[in-house]
């Protein structure tokens, strides 16, 4: 008859008879295996403390084996158990048993360690003494395959820092793992390779060292790509993917494109490994257009989209799938269209926007961001689904990264040709973007101003008016002085779009700026000098827009501004084609068609004195850019309309 749990726990105490302690240990171990209720009960009774006591003070082999096994059982599948073990300082006594002369004790300790660190938890470098780490590496070369494989499995868990990775290499850890992978039978071979793959995912240099050390190793891994076992094929893919990590495409083995990617894509349909594959696939294709093309040629997108349906309640799998799909859709229109072929996929992605896991929300946003980088999708595909509501909600998400990514999606969704734009504006996106434009986080600030810039692009009079109402002119001027040149550029582009096209009211603009826009632009041009040609270009384009949509007063103001007029010849002669073009358009807009009477005297004098006429003539005749020559021709024709003498 088995004693009551309380009694068994009390027998673990040091004063008890050794046989009684051993029996109590065995009983506890047998009771908790596969029984979560019992595990909780023994944890509540403080059994872990008794187990740690035995590990710390006992010399008896059987007691050590049984206590390590029982501790492992309590921790296995129970986060609470693992935490309780670490809280009772059980790690150090367990690590000390790694030097035990009886390999059965060592094997039991290795198993227990694996149970304690089965989840994402990792011991810190301080918790694992260098000697213990070296002992673990040594054990991976043990004559006992069970011990060696057990140690090999733990190496990726215990190797958490660069110094430990160097130590591993110095101690011949990679060589030991290679040797072990050749020696053990198929199942253990996969375990060892998986350990190597996990290890080298963080330190790809270790895999390259392994390949360099043993010529046959790479060949064997490539052979394993044809293994009947899906797990074996997947592990081989992982190893080869790690080998290629951080290397240029030229340095990749030819098998990566011809075998690894097709194998991985096929494995997406294998229930045994399908949810593990996307992360590996993403690590290979991220940053490589060529490899993304290969993956899509093998129909990766429909398979990933199909998996989304199955992964809806598996947040970890959902995260990997969304990240991989996001990678595939960032730059390739064909991939976007392929993903949107099935309308239900989009609904799943939108559903993931409301995931409890912040990283999944970020990945879903990233996916949507990729899909929304297409005029056609914004026009025709991202239409009849409710994107606006969850997106607006994410702008106030407690997680900063989610906010940043949601704002990035919004940047694309508020474009004039996006069907969902009106819904977003009605939902208050203007006020929200304006409030985020003054955020303390620079990325969020950038995205918000970017969103406002896109919103103002070809925006209606009402939309432009609502931006001007929500965003004080002083805020914009401070954004124009932001420390980030990129943000300055977005703020300038926002201003440029506000004075672009026919939907612009000069009255509204003057009221907003207090009539200071010209002075501000002149200051921008003066401040940035020729350091940032793209900023100069936007500033010049904004001036050109002002001259284009404004009346005679605005044109006269521009030409009467000494700063702008003195800068114009320099910009017309700039080495940057885009700057010359922007300056030329300003000149053209200053001399509009049919303006002969009003502008003749004053503007001709000003332009003559500034030497602009001759520069424009020179551009017309000699500029290497056809566009510049053509615009200069237009400008010369405009000059002709106001000059007495042809230029």
């Amino acid at each position: 008859m088995v004693a009551r749990p309380e009694e068994l726990v009390s027998r673990l105490a040091s004063g008890s008879d050794p046989d009684s302690r051993l029996k109590a240990l065995r009983d506890i171990k047998n009771q908790v295996i596969g029984n979560k209720r019992k595990k909780r009960l023994y944890l509540q009774l403080g059994a872990v403390s008794g187990l740690v006591q035995i590990l710390e003070h006992s010399d008896d082999t059987q007691l050590l084996i049984q206590s390590a096994t029982a501790a492992g059982s309590l921790a296995y599948g129970s986060q609470q158990g693992a935490e309780a073990f670490l809280a009772c300082n059980g790690l150090q006594p367990l690590l000390r048993t790694l030097w035990h002369s009886d390999l059965r004790v060592v094997e039991a300790s290795l198993r227990a360690l694996r149970c304690v660190f089965q989840n994402e938890a990792r011991p810190s470098e301080q918790q694992v003494a260098t000697e213990a780490f070296i002992q673990l590496v040594t054990l991976s070369g043990s004559g006992s395959y069970l011990v060696a494989v057990g140690a090999a499995r733990l190496l990726p868990v215990f190797c958490t820092t660069d110094s430990q990775a160097s130590l591993l290499e110095q101690q011949g850890g990679v060589r030991k793992l290679l040797h072990l992978s050749h020696a053990v039978h198929a199942t253990q071979h996969e375990i060892v390779l998986e350990a190597l793959a996990r290890l080298t995912a963080t330190w790809p240099g270790l895999m390259r060292a392994a390949f360099a050390e043993d010529d046959s190793f790479k060949r064997k891994i490539e052979e394993q790509l044809k293994s009947p076992s899906p797990e074996a094929r997947f592990v081989a893919c992982l190893c080869l993917a790690n080998y290629c990590q951080g290397r240029s495409l030229d340095a990749h083995p030819p098998t990566l494109q011809s075998q690894v990617l097709p194998t991985l894509v096929r494995l997406l349909g294998n229930p045994a490994v399908r949810f593990s594959v996307p992360r590996c696939l993403n690590s290979i294709i991220e940053g490589s257009d060529v490899l993304q093309k290969v993956a899509t040629d093998f129909e990766a997108i429909p398979k990933l989209a199909h998996l989304l349906h199955a992964a809806i309640s598996n947040q970890a799998a959902l995260l990997d799938l969304l990240q991989t799909l996001a990678t595939l859709c960032q730059h390739h229109e064909a991939n976007r269209r392929q993903l949107l072929t099935d309308h239900t996929t989009l609904k799943l992605i939108l559903g993931a926007l409301e995931s409890p896991d912040a990283s999944v929300r970020v990945a879903a946003c990233s996916c949507l961001r990729g899909l929304s980088r297409s005029v056609k999708n914004l026009r025709c595909s991202l239409v009849d689904v409710d994107i606006a509501q969850p997106l607006m909600k994410l702008l106030s998400d407690p997680n900063l990264e989610v906010q940043q990514m949601a704002t990035a999606v919004l940047c694309n969704m508020v474009l004039d040709f996006a069907v969902v734009k009106d819904v977003l504006v009605a939902a208050g996106c203007v006020d929200k973007l304006v409030s985020l434009a003054t955020s303390m986080d620079s990325d969020l600030r950038l995205n918000a101003v970017w969103g406002l810039q896109n919103l103002a692009f070809r925006g209606s009079l009402e939309v432009k008016g609502s931006i001007m109402s929500a965003l004080p002119w002083t805020t914009l001027t401070s954004l124009l002085r932001d420390e980030s040149p990129e943000l300055q550029g977005k703020a300038l582009s926002l201003l440029q779009n506000l004075v672009h096209g026919s939907n612009t009211s000069m009255t509204q603009l003057t009221a907003w700026t207090g009539g200071n826009i010209l002075e501000e632009l002149a200051q921008v041009l003066y401040r940035i000098g020729d350091k940032e040609s793209s900023l100069q270009e936007h500033a010049m384009q904004t001036l050109g827009n002002l001259a284009g949509i404004g009346g005679e007063d605005e044109r006269d103001e521009i030409i009467n501004n000494p700063g702008i007029l003195s800068l114009l010849p320099t910009l017309l002669a700039s080495s940057q084609e885009r700057l010359r073009l922007a300056a030329l358009w300003l000149v053209i807009n200053i001399i509009p068609v049919g303006d002969r009477e009003t502008c003749l005297a004053m503007r001709r004098t000003k332009l003559d004195h500034a030497g602009i006429k001759s520069i424009v003539q020179q551009l017309r005749d000699t500029d290497p850019s056809q566009d510049i020559r053509e615009r200069a021709t237009t400008a010369c024709n405009r000059f002709l309309s106001i000059m007495e003498e042809p230029p």
């Binding site: 961001r369 929304s372 980088r373 297409s374 005029v375 056609k376 026009r379 025709c380 990035a408 999606v409 940047c411 694309n412 474009l415 004039d416 040709f417 069907v419 995205n447 970017w450 969103g451 810039q453 896109n454 692009f457 070809r458 582009s493 440029q496 779009n497 004075v499 672009h500 096209g501 026919s502 936007h538 384009q541 050109g544 827009n545 001259a547 284009g548 949509i549 073009l581 922007a582 358009w585 053209i588 807009n589 509009p592 068609v593 049919g594 850019s625 056809q626 566009d627 053509e630 615009r631 021709t633 237009t634």
Partner: protein, 309 residues
């Protein structure tokens, strides 16, 4: 033997022959209101095209089927050098319909295929306004559709352009009809003069491009029709050629009575941004003319910008 002589006219833009039918963008099953005179002209055109078909009956299938538009003109040019058409080969009747260009005959132009440089008027945000002449037969221009076009994306590297087209005054439709279109810029790299799809043949292409007389005639001897229609004179040419294909209705429903099965041959003048287009749809009357000018060209040219995040 060259194509039948065409009337040469002065001016920046060609004048097209009176060969269009009214309301030709209507589906064929939509009853069109056609005058007796228009109908007679239509029958006359049908007879003429029947003659063409008879003439083409003697041509080989390869000459009647659309050529694939090469992804890279270079491939096409190299392919040309291996053509079985030797200079001594007997010319078939259909060959007479194509003016074989010098480049075709020489298989040359490999080194100097030029890409059209950027143009301020072919840029994101540019708007055009004008009209589509659905009937050139009658002098009543009230039947013309008022058209607005916006360029919403333009990528010279990939030869891609897209935007929206809004048509007003469309018969039987009260609200403006807005469509989304995607375009191909003829750049020798991504797209050439031979369309190779949408039911066209080289003959269709040749006939349509030649309607842009002033813009196209200087190029005609440089186009290699038999290898995709690449041309070595695009680099400094004052016109940019494109094809615009409407992809979807934006505001109107599919059953609004209009069709978007065809596409436009487009010619943009780099100097002033004016555009001429010809609608091509086997189910519609040919040579409907689209005429556009840059919007607000008399006030001033404004530049906006957006970037996908």
């Amino acid at each position: 033997m060259p194509l039948a002589p065409r009337r040469q006219r002065d001016g920046p833009w060609p004048s097209l022959e009176d060969r269009s039918m009214p309301d030709s963008r209507f589906r064929s099953d939509t009853p069109a209101r056609v005058s007796a005179l228009q109908h007679l002209r239509y029958l006359h055109r049908e007879m003429r095209s029947g003659e063409h078909r008879q003439l083409l009956a003697g041509a080989s299938p390869s000459q009647l089927e659309p050529d694939p538009c090469p992804a890279h003109a270079y491939q096409g040019v190299f392919a040309d050098t291996n053509f079985s058409d030797s200079p001594t080969a007997a010319r078939r009747p259909a060959d007479e319909l194509f003016e074989t260009s010098e480049s075709d005959r020489e298989g040359g132009g490999i080194q100097c295929l030029g890409v059209p440089p950027s143009c301020s008027y072919l840029a994101t945000g540019q708007e055009f306004t004008g009209r589509q002449r659905v009937s050139r037969v009658t002098s009543n221009r009230s039947e013309d559709w008022s058209v607005q076009v916006q360029i919403q994306d333009c990528n010279l590297r990939t030869g891609y352009v897209c935007g929206s087209m809004s048509a007003e005054n469309v018969p039987q439709v009260r609200a403006p009809v807005v469509t989304f279109w995607e375009g191909e810029i003829i750049d020798n790299v991504n797209h050439c003069f031979v369309t190779g799809k949408w039911g066209t043949t080289r003959l269709t292409d040749s006939q349509h491009w030649r309607q842009f007389e002033t813009a196209f005639i200087p190029l005609r001897n440089s186009i290699q029709w038999r290898c995709g229609g690449s041309c070595n004179k695009l680099a400094d040419h004052p016109y940019i050629f494109m094809r615009w294909k409407e992809q979807a209705f934006v505001d109107a429903k599919e059953d609004c009575g209009l069709t978007i099965t065809g596409f436009y041959y487009i010619c943009l003048s780099r100097l002033d941004g004016s555009i001429q287009g010809l609608y091509c749809d086997p189910k519609s009357s040919p040579y409907q003319l689209l005429e556009l000018q840059p919007a607000n060209s008399h006030q001033g040219h404004t530049v906006g910008s957006y970037q996908f995040c």
